[in-house]
Symmetry: D2
Subunit: 347 residues, 4 copies
Amino acid sequence: MTNKLDVSIVGGSGYVGGELLRLLLFHPHIHVKQITSVSQVGKFAHNAHPNLRSATDIQFTHPDTLESCDLLFLAQPHGYSAKNIEHFAGLAERIIDTSADFRLNDTDTYARWYGEPHPAPDWLNKFVYGLPERYRAELAQANYVSGVGCNATVTNLALAPLAQAGLLAGGRVIADIKVGSSEGGARPNEGSHHPERSGAVRSFKPTGHRHQAEIQQTLGADFDLFMSVTSIELIRGALVTAHCLLNESLTEKDLWKLYRKAYKTEPFVRIVKQKTGIFRYPEPKLLAGTNYCDVGFEVEEDGRRVVIIGAIDNLMKGAAGSAVQAMNVMLGWDETAGLEFPGLHPV
Amino acid sequence: MTNKLDVSIVGGSGYVGGELLRLLLFHPHIHVKQITSVSQVGKFAHNAHPNLRSATDIQFTHPDTLESCDLLFLAQPHGYSAKNIEHFAGLAERIIDTSADFRLNDTDTYARWYGEPHPAPDWLNKFVYGLPERYRAELAQANYVSGVGCNATVTNLALAPLAQAGLLAGGRVIADIKVGSSEGGARPNEGSHHPERSGAVRSFKPTGHRHQAEIQQTLGADFDLFMSVTSIELIRGALVTAHCLLNESLTEKDLWKLYRKAYKTEPFVRIVKQKTGIFRYPEPKLLAGTNYCDVGFEVEEDGRRVVIIGAIDNLMKGAAGSAVQAMNVMLGWDETAGLEFPGLHPV
Amino acid sequence: MTNKLDVSIVGGSGYVGGELLRLLLFHPHIHVKQITSVSQVGKFAHNAHPNLRSATDIQFTHPDTLESCDLLFLAQPHGYSAKNIEHFAGLAERIIDTSADFRLNDTDTYARWYGEPHPAPDWLNKFVYGLPERYRAELAQANYVSGVGCNATVTNLALAPLAQAGLLAGGRVIADIKVGSSEGGARPNEGSHHPERSGAVRSFKPTGHRHQAEIQQTLGADFDLFMSVTSIELIRGALVTAHCLLNESLTEKDLWKLYRKAYKTEPFVRIVKQKTGIFRYPEPKLLAGTNYCDVGFEVEEDGRRVVIIGAIDNLMKGAAGSAVQAMNVMLGWDETAGLEFPGLHPV
Amino acid sequence: MTNKLDVSIVGGSGYVGGELLRLLLFHPHIHVKQITSVSQVGKFAHNAHPNLRSATDIQFTHPDTLESCDLLFLAQPHGYSAKNIEHFAGLAERIIDTSADFRLNDTDTYARWYGEPHPAPDWLNKFVYGLPERYRAELAQANYVSGVGCNATVTNLALAPLAQAGLLAGGRVIADIKVGSSEGGARPNEGSHHPERSGAVRSFKPTGHRHQAEIQQTLGADFDLFMSVTSIELIRGALVTAHCLLNESLTEKDLWKLYRKAYKTEPFVRIVKQKTGIFRYPEPKLLAGTNYCDVGFEVEEDGRRVVIIGAIDNLMKGAAGSAVQAMNVMLGWDETAGLEFPGLHPV
C-alpha cells in the first residue's frame, strides 16, 4: 500500500458512493481507507454494493469516526456537504464533492435554483467544477472539486463545441433528455416501484430542471436553454437530444470540423456518427460502466435545426467517473487511470 | 341501474382491488356501489388506478362507512377478512374474499403455513375455494367464496388432469414458477425498487412457499410436491414449469387425450402446444388482462419425465379474474360475462 | 350474422392487421368475412396473432381470392394500396386504408416525402384523413378513409387546440417523440434483434421524419415544425414532448381553457395533468390496447416555452383504433363501439 | 508488443467473438493479431462490436488470409471447427475452440446429441474440456481446449461439490434454467424480434437440451439429469435452479461445508447465500461482464429436496470468460489475468 493515496468516501451506501468505491478499489494509485454510512455501520460494503462481494472486505464506518486522509470523496445527498465543509476540510487536503452543493459559483443563482441561501458561500469560489473537458487547467491546480450534474454533463459535452465557437449566441436550445431509474438514487419510493416504473415513459421534469443552471454557467448564458427530462425504461444512462435553433446555418461538414477539433484529443469523448448499422448515434446502453460521453449530430435538410445527440452513463461520466477523472487530473496522473473499462456488447 | 346487482369492494386501492373494479365496471350485471380504502378516503378511484380515468367517477370511502349490498368483494391483505368476517357477513348475503384467509379448509394446515391459529375457524367450511374448474358445482350453491393463490392456480390447472386420472399418485412434482413483480402488491419496498428489480432473476422462494398447501388441498396429497418461485423481469404473469416424475410412463398422445378431455369445455383453459412458431407453449405475456390459463406439455424422450407448462395473468386468473368467474357461476350468469378480453399481441 | 356488416382485411398478418382483427371480432356490428395474407395462406389467424387463439377460427386466404364485401380494410405496407386501389374499389363500397398511401392530399407533397410520384393521384381527393377529432363531419360522408401515421396522430392531437386557436402561427415546434418497437412492424431485422434493441435509446430519425407532412397538412403550415423520433424500451406506445416556442406568452390557465374546450366532448382524448402522484402526465404504458390519446402540458415559468405532452398506443389510436373509430363515424354508429377497453394497471 | 503472445480469433463477428476480443485487448500478455469474419471483411471490429470503438482499430480479415500465430481462438458456429481442425492446427500450436465440436470426448455421445457422426473423431481426445474448476491440471498440460456450454457450465459448477462427494449417485436432478436472449447469438430471427421476445417467458427447450451430455460427462452419469430451459427478459445471464432429489438427507450445514471446501480457493466461484437483503441468492444481472459463477442453496424443511442455485454471464463464464481463464491456466499465467472486472450495481 506504500505510495498509494489514502482516500475515504463519505456517504458510501448510495449508487454514486458504490461506483466510487468500485473505481477506487481497482485504481492503481489509491488505497481506500474508510467508507462511511449512517445506516450501514459495521456492515460490509458488499451489503450495499453486491457487485463488490469478492473485491473488498471493507466495512462501513460511522461518519463520526472519519479519520484524516489524503483525499475525501463526499457522496451525500445535496445540502450535507455545504453544511459540513469546514469539518471535512480539516480532515483532508483535497475534497471532491459529488453533490450539487458546490457546483454553482454564484450565491444568487444557487438561491434561485435550490430555494435557500447557500450555507457556505465563502467556499463557492474555492471549488472547481469537475468537468475536465472544460476546466482541465483549473482542476490541475485545485484542491476542491465539485461534482457534475448528470444531465448537465451530457448536455454540456454535447453543446460545448458549438458554445466555444460562439454559435449558440442568440440561439435557442431545447435539451430533451431521456434518463434511467438510477438517477433517482438508491432509496425506493412510490414512483420507483417496479410495476409502476418498468416500461414507463414518464415526463419527469418537463420544465424547470435545476441542471439548467450548471449548463449555462459552463456554456454561457447568451442563448435560451430549455430542458425537459423524461424517465424511460433504463437503469443506467442518459441521452440528450439537443435541438438547436441557431442564427447561423450549419452544414454537417461544419459540425464534423467543429466536433473533431474539440474532441480529437479527449480521452473520454467520442464522436459517434455512422451512415449504416444499428448504432449510428450515441447509445447509452453501450456505455454502462464506462466513463465515455458519446456525441453525434444531424442537421435538418434546410439547415434550420441542428440536432446534437449525447449519451453517458449517468453514474459514471455523469457522477463517479467524472469525479475520478477529475482526481486523476488534480493529481497529475494518467487521466484514464482506473477508467479503462470499455463497456459491454450486447448488454 | 335496475336489475343490476349492487356490489362493493373492500380494500380497493391495491392491485387486485383495481382489477376487480375494472372488471365490475364493465360487467353487464353489476353496479359498483362502494369501494373502500383507509388511505385514499375521498380520492377518486382513478387516483390509485389511473387506467380507469374515464371509466368511473367513483371515490374511495372509509371501510367504516360501508353499507349493505348484494355482494361484497374483500381484497384486503391476508388476516383482515378472517378477523372481520362476522361484520361483513352482516352487510352482504354473498362474499368473495380474495385474500388467503379462507382458502384452506383445515385449521391445522392453516396454522402450519400461516404460523398462527385461524381467527375464525367456524367459517372455514362455509367457504368454497374459488376455482371454477374444480369446484363449479359447489360454487353454484355457495354464498361464500375464497380467492385463489396465483401460483397455486397456475399449478392446479396445469396438474389437475394428471391428478384426476390418478397419475400423480406416488409421484414427485417440482413446480418451478416464474413470476412478475405485481405479485408483490402495490406497496414499494427495497426489493421492488426499479434499479434493483428490473432485469432481476431473483430466487424469491426456493422452498417452502405457502401456496403448496392450496395445491395439495385441491389435487390431493398422495404425491410429493416441491415448489420454487423465481421473480423475473415481468409485471404481470406467472408461468409454471411442472416437472413430473411419475410412476407410469406417459406418451405425448396420452397427455393430449387427458388434457383435451379435461379442458375441452372449459371457457378459460386452453391447450397450447404447437410444433412450430414462436408461441409453441403457454406464454404469460399474451395473457395480460385476460382470464385464460394456457396449458401445454412435453414428454422426455424416454418417458421418464413429463413437463407440464402453465401460464396465467396472476392478477386475473390468479386473483380478480377467477373471483369474477366464480361470481358468475355463483349467480348463474354466463361464466364469461365481463371476462371476454382476449389479450394483446404484440405486447 | 344478419344485420352485421361484412368486412374483410387485406394484409392481415402484420401488427395493424392483427389489431384490426381483434377489434372487429369483438365489434357489435361487424362480421369478419375474410382476412388475407400471401405468406400465411391456409393458416389460422391465431398463427400470426396468438392472442386470438380462442377468439376465432378464421384462416388466412390469398388476396387473389378476395371476395366482395361491405367494407374493406387495407393494412398492407406502404405503396400497395395505391397501386391496387381500382381493384379494391371494385370489391367494396367502402375502404379504409391504414397505409400511408392516401394520407396526403397533395401529389407534390407526396412526391417530396415518399420520393416518387403518386401511383393513383386521382384518388387522393376521394380519401378523407382518418382522424375523427379533426375530420368528423367529412368522415361521416366519406366512402374512402385513409389511415393516420402514429407519430403524426399523437402530435396532431397534442397540438390541435393550439393550432385551432391560431397560437402556433409564426411559432416553432419541436416534436420530440419516444416510440416503442412495434412501430417497426412484424418483420425482424438487425435493429430489432432483442439483444440489440432491448434497453436501447436509439436516435431513430433525428430529422426528416415523413409524418411531418401529415401534421402540417392537418394543423397548417404557418409554423415551423421539427420532429425527432427516438426508439426506447417499449413495445407499444408513443409519447410526444412537443416543445412550443410561440409568439404569444401563455399561462397554464390559458391552456386549461383551450384544451378543455377542445376535448371535453371527445370520447378518446383525455387531459392528464395532476399535481401529485406518479401518473401526472400522459403515460403510454397505461394506454396499451386502448384507443385513448392522453394530453397534458406544462409552461416554462416565464412563459417562453409551452410543453405539450401526448401519449397513445401506436397500434391503436395511432393505427387500428383510429381506423375503427373512423369506421364507426362513417357508418353512423356509436363512435366508441368496439373500442371500450380501458387499459390495464399495473402493466 | 514484444513478449506478448500473438493471438487470433476466427469467427470474430458473433457475440462470443466480441467478448473474446474485448478480453484479449485488455489482457496483459496478449497481442491480438487477426480477427476473421466472412461477412465483415475489411470492416473495423467496432462495426460489429460498438463497445470497442476506442479500444482498437483492428479490421476483420477473411479466414482465408489467416496467418500463423501462437494461439488461435475459434468462435464459429458448431460444426465448423471440427471440419477444419487440421488446417487450424497447422497454423497455431495452441487452439481454444468455443464451439460445441470438441466438448464431448465420446463419438457415440456426440452422434446421439448432434445427430451425425463426428467429422474429426481422432481429435476428440486431444481436447481438454475448458472448465478450469474441474480440469485445471489437464488444462495446464493441454494444447487444445474446448469451450464450455453456457447452460452446462452453470449447472456443472452448481452441482460439482455434490457430485464430487458422491451425493448425486442414484438421485434425480432437475435443472430448470432461465436464460437471456444473447444465448441465441447475434443473428436475428422471428423469435428474437423485439416485440415478440421482450417480456417473454418462453419455454425454449422443456426437454432434450444438448448440454445435458456435457454435464453428465463432467459430473458422472450415475444420476438422472433432467433439463429445461426457459428464455426470459434478459440479455446476458443464465440462472439454474437445480432441484435435487437425493438418497441422502442433507442439512444446510452439510451444504455449507461441502461448498466452502469445494470453492474456497476458486477465484471465480463465490457462495452467495444471505439471510437478509435483496441479493440473498445468485443473481445473474450482477454478473454481466464478469467471469464469476455465483452459487447458493436452500434445503426443503424436511430435507427431501436440495435446491442449488447458480448464476453466470453466459457470454463470459459460459463462453469467452472461461476460454480466457483456460488460456491463463494453459500458459501458466495468473488465472485471473484480464478477467478482473467486478461487475456493476445497479445494472
